[in-house]
């Protein structure tokens, strides 16, 4: 039996080639025209608190938004909500994932839900999110639900296994990437004992088949991953370090995806908060939305980097807490989406009460660049 068992194991052992990213196109322009910059609260008033918005452009060009909400961040009534922006009009809000749904599908007690992250994969819409059975967010596990109808209905929730220690403490926040063979590279992070970033590789059935560590220790979480070639990527990370706080972390993959350069602090500040990035006309030309402060989440700022070697420039401020106003972490968890038509949709948590949506087109970006002096 031993020989037969191991023979079977060796015979069925899959080969895991290094993943090659399926590179996105970098549509620059958008239609030339009038600058448009407009904003609105989009999460309704179904729940007292809301957080962690994410969005995805569907194959038909609509934007589907996800967030979670409840009485408060960790309360037992948290659910994941969603709505669709189609032809400049928002659909009604739908509660798409509840504790009960996930408990029934995964055969596990679920205490709370959080941090949705979505991906269009062929004709399917994949939704990753975290659930906690015991304790705080450090006890999170990952889940995956797949929709075949752009998010109107969802298949059974699948539990992802990503850690040997009770399968806890794996969370997601930022956009996954696709590889050229259809695998998914999901940026993830840990918060139990260690606070570090890694990448999970999932096959087309949603099984975790490999993982790659970006950082270790208690330094950096919530990696925002961007491909710079089919084999290389860069990552910007939230700074959780006690020894080197206050600066946004950066790293890049070297020869292979499991070999990442040591963390480097950028000149940009980071108050232990998430940042979001998109690529513009080339892999190196970046837009980033972040909190431009070393210790407070009092603003939401747009940064621009024209080339790999250039300095970051601040080109717009979407929020700035008024003098004298005291609110803990008023603006956080920004998520920036660039559409195939070259427009931008920014979502972020506004004083924990709302998800705010800011739309700006390419002409508005050009105007911001010009006004700030970055585009001259």
């Amino acid at each position: 039996m031993i020989i037969a068992g191991f023979a079977l194991a060796f015979f069925t052992l899959p080969t895991l080639p290094q993943p090659a990213f399926s590179l996105p196109e970098y549509p620059s322009s958008g239609e030339p025209g009038k600058p448009v910059l407009e904003s609105a609260f989009v999460s309704g008033d179904l729940t007292r608190e809301v957080h962690s918005a994410t969005a995805v452009e569907l194959n038909n060009g609509d934007i589907r938004l996800f967030w979670y909400g409840g009485k408060r961040e960790g309360s037992k009534d948290t659910s994941i909500y969603s709505r669709v922006l189609s032809s400049n009009s928002w659909s009604g809000i739908t509660e798409i994932m509840t504790r009960q749904t996930v408990a029934t599908d995964t055969h596990r007690y679920i205490r709370k839900l959080g941090n949705p992250v979505a991906l269009v994969k062929g004709d399917e819409l994949w939704l990753f999110f975290v659930t906690v059975s015991v304790g705080g967010w450090a006890g999170s596990s990952l889940n995956l639900a797949v929709s075949a109808d752009h998010g109107q209905s969802w298949g059974p929730v699948k539990r992802l296994i990503s850690s040997p220690f009770l399968n806890i403490s794996t969370l997601v926040r930022n956009q996954p990437l696709l590889t050229d063979n259809g695998d998914v590279i999901l940026p993830a992070y840990h918060e139990f004992l260690g606070k570090f970033s890694e990448l999970l590789q999932l096959d087309s059935s949603g099984n975790v088949i490999n993982k790659y560590r970006i950082s270790h220790g208690r330094e950096a979480i919530q990696p925002a991953l961007l491909p710079v070639s089919s084999e290389h990527a860069i990552a910007f990370m939230r700074n959780t370090s006690a020894n080197h706080p206050g600066k946004l972390w950066f790293s890049h993959s070297r020869e292979q995806l499991d070999d990442w350069a040591p963390l480097v602090p950028l000149t940009l500040p980071n108050p232990d908060s998430a940042a979001t990035l998109v690529q513009l006309d080339s892999p190196d030309e970046l837009l980033m939305v972040f909190n431009n402060h070393p210790s407070e989440r009092d603003d939401i700022t747009l940064g621009y980097r024209p080339t790999e070697t250039a300095e970051w420039q601040l080109i717009h401020q979407f929020e700035d807490l008024k003098d004298g106003e005291k609110i803990h972490n008023p603006f956080s968890y920004p998520f920036l989406l660039k559409t195939t038509s070259g427009d931008f949709h920014l979502f972020y948590t506004w004083k924990r009460k709302h998800i705010k949506h800011v739309y700006f087109n390419h002409a508005a970006l050009q105007e911001m660049l010009f006004t700030s002096g970055a585009g001259s």
Binding site: G5, F6, L13, H107, Y109, P164, F165, L166, S169, I209
Partner: protein, 201 residues
């Protein structure tokens, strides 16, 4: 209607709870019938719905799935403690403890971010890890540690057949509850007494 897979998962969670009880309760001091009633009672408590869900949903939420080696060990442990049926020799338990504790030391600190090296990632389709396991299994077999050799081989087969949700070989070999129960069999006086008593019977 509960599916067969859910039922088996529930039973594995019940087995985990019974194994914990076996190491914590001085069951060997009870008559056989009382032992069986206690163990069956614990299993029933875990399997039956107490509120919205069966109790094992909570157990699984906390501990996750048991590894295959753990499940086989729990069966052997419960059978030995309850019915005095021996599936492993005493020194085999000692070696099993050592193997599992060394594995835990090699696995958990690195998986939890101690260094840039992540030993957990070795469990994904790694022929060298499989070769190391084959060597350990053959060593155990030729040294007549048949129980250990068998449970490792069954875990490897289960991994090839993807019987658990995980695709990582480590998850078929070891889990934190298994480590804890093995430590309990070492340190808990009741377990020591139970083992000694079984040894003498």
């Amino acid at each position: 209607m509960i599916s067969n897979i859910a039922l088996l998962t529930g039973l594995s969670m019940a087995l985990l709870c019974v194994a914990f009880a076996t190491t914590l309760l001085p069951a060997n001091k009870l008559p056989l019938a009382a032992r069986v009633v206690v163990m069956a009672g614990i299993a029933l408590l875990v399997m039956l719905p107490l509120s919205d869900y069966p109790g094992w949903y909570k157990v699984r939420g906390i501990f996750g799935d048991s590894s295959i080696t753990a499940l086989l060990f729990y069966i052997a442990l419960v059978m030995q403690q309850t019915f005095s049926w021996k599936f492993y020799r005493d020194k085999e338990l000692v070696l099993l403890r050592r193997l599992v504790l060394v594995s835990a030391l090699l696995l958990y600190p690195f998986a939890l971010g101690l260094t840039q090296f992540d030993s957990y990632s070795l469990g994904y389709a790694n022929p060298w890890m499989l070769a190391a396991l084959l060597a350990i299994t053959l060593f155990c077999w030729f040294r007549q540690y048949y129980f250990i050799a068998t449970v490792i081989a069954v875990a490897v087969i289960a991994s090839s057949l993807h019987l658990l949700e995980s695709r990582n070989l480590w998850d078929y070999l070891i889990d934190p509850a298994f480590v804890l129960i093995l430590i309990l069999t070492w340190f808990m006086p009741s377990a020591t007494i139970a083992l000694s008593s079984t040894r003498n019977s």
